[in-house]
C-alpha cells in the first residue's frame, strides 16, 4: 500500500498521469474464464483511467474481454494491474475487491 501511495504522490507532483499499480491473485477455482473476464472488464470500464493487465508473458487492455481472455489466468495466477488516470486508485481498489475478495462470486478450490 505504501509503495502505491508514493507512486500516486509522484504522479501528482509532476502533474503527470496518476499511476497506480498492484498485483492481484486469481482465487476462484475456474480461473479467469469468459464470465469473470466480462465482470473484470465491466468493473474496469466504470473508470476513466486506462487499465493494463499483465501476466509473465503478455500485457493486455483490461477493458477488452477478448484481450483479457488471452491471459489464460488459472486459479493461483498473479496478475499485475496498472491503472493510469485521475481515478486510478479507485479502479485498482474496485478490481482488488472483485478479484481477491469476491473472487468473481465463484467458488474457490476445494482443498
Amino acid at each position: 500500500m505504501r509503495e502505491q501511495d508514493l507512486k500516486m504522490q509522484a504522479g501528482q507532483d509532476s502533474l503527470a498521469k496518476l499511476v497506480c499499480e498492484t498485483e492481484l491473485e486469481i482465487k476462484n477455482a475456474d480461473g479467469l474464464h469468459m464470465r469473470p473476464a466480462m465482470q473484470f472488464v465491466d468493473a474496469a470500464s466504470q473508470f476513466d483511467c486506462d487499465v493494463t493487465v499483465s501476466n509473465s508473458e503478455n500485457s493486455v487492455d483490461g477493458k477488452s474481454v477478448m484481450q483479457m481472455s488471452m491471459l489464460a489466468a488459472t486459479c493461483g495466477t498473479k496478475l499485475k494491474i496498472k491503472a493510469e488516470g485521475a481515478d486510478a486508485q479507485k479502479a485498482v481498489d474496485a478490481l482488488r475487491e472483485l478479484v481477491e475478495e469476491k473472487h468473481f462470486d465463484e467458488p474457490t478450490p476445494k482443498v
Binding site: A29, D30, G31, H33, M66, S69, L71
Partner: protein, 157 residues
C-alpha cells in the same frame, strides 16, 4: 495449446445452413456428434445448455466472431467445431454487429485450466485482423484446416 490439439476438423461447417443463433449452435453440436466427439445421446442436451449459456451473456465478442461454449461431462477433453456464415448471424454480439465465424467449444467439467488455454489460443488469433479475414475468406473445410494449422506454426497470424 494449439488449434490442432482441440479443433475437430471433421466437424467444420464451411457454410452454415441456418441463419439464427440457436440453429447455428444446433448445427455445430450435431456436427461434433456426427464426428463421434460427444457422448452418445448427449446432442440435444448439449445444444440446450449451450443456448442457455449464450442467453446469460453473449459470447459474440465483436469483430464478427462468436465463441459459444460450455463445460459438459460428455467430453473428456476440450473439443471445438468451427462454422462459417457468409450471410452473417445475429448473435446479440457486444458490438451489435453480425457474426460470420463461430467457434463452438465444449470443455470437460473437471479441467478448468485446459478450457482457459483453449480460449487463450482462440482469442490470441481472433485478435489478429488478418486471421479473422482469412477465416472469413475460407470456403472449404480444407482451407479452414490449413489456415488453423498455419496459425499454429505462426503465432503472429
Amino acid at each position: 495449446m494449439k488449434f490442432a490439439d482441440f479443433v475437430c476438423f471433421d466437424a467444420t461447417i464451411p457454410e452454415l445452413k441456418t441463419g439464427d443463433r440457436d440453429g447455428v449452435i444446433a448445427e455445430l453440436v450435431a456436427s461434433l456428434d456426427k464426428a463421434g466427439r460427444l457422448g452418445k445421446g448427449r446432442c440435444q442436451e448439449i445444444v440446450m445448455v449451450v443456448i442457455k449459456r449464450e442467453k446469460e451473456a453473449s459470447t459474440g465478442m465483436g469483430k464478427g466472431v462468436a465463441v459459444p461454449h460450455v463445460k459438459h461431462q460428455a467430453v473428456k477433453d476440450v473439443v471445438a467445431a468451427i462454422g462459417q456464415s457468409s450471410a452473417g448471424i445475429d448473435f446479440s454480439a457486444l458490438d451489435k454487429q453480425l457474426v460470420y465465424s463461430v467457434i463452438l467449444l465444449i470443455s470437460p467439467v473437471d479441467n478448468p485450466d485446459k478450457h482457459l488455454q483453449a480460449m487463450e489460443n482462440i482469442f490470441k488469433h481472433l485478435q489478429q485482423e488478418k486471421f479473422r479475414r482469412f477465416l472469413r475468406q475460407s470456403q472449404t473445410a480444407e482451407q479452414i484446416e490449413s489456415l488453423l494449422r498455419e496459425a499454429d506454426e505462426n503465432p503472429s497470424l
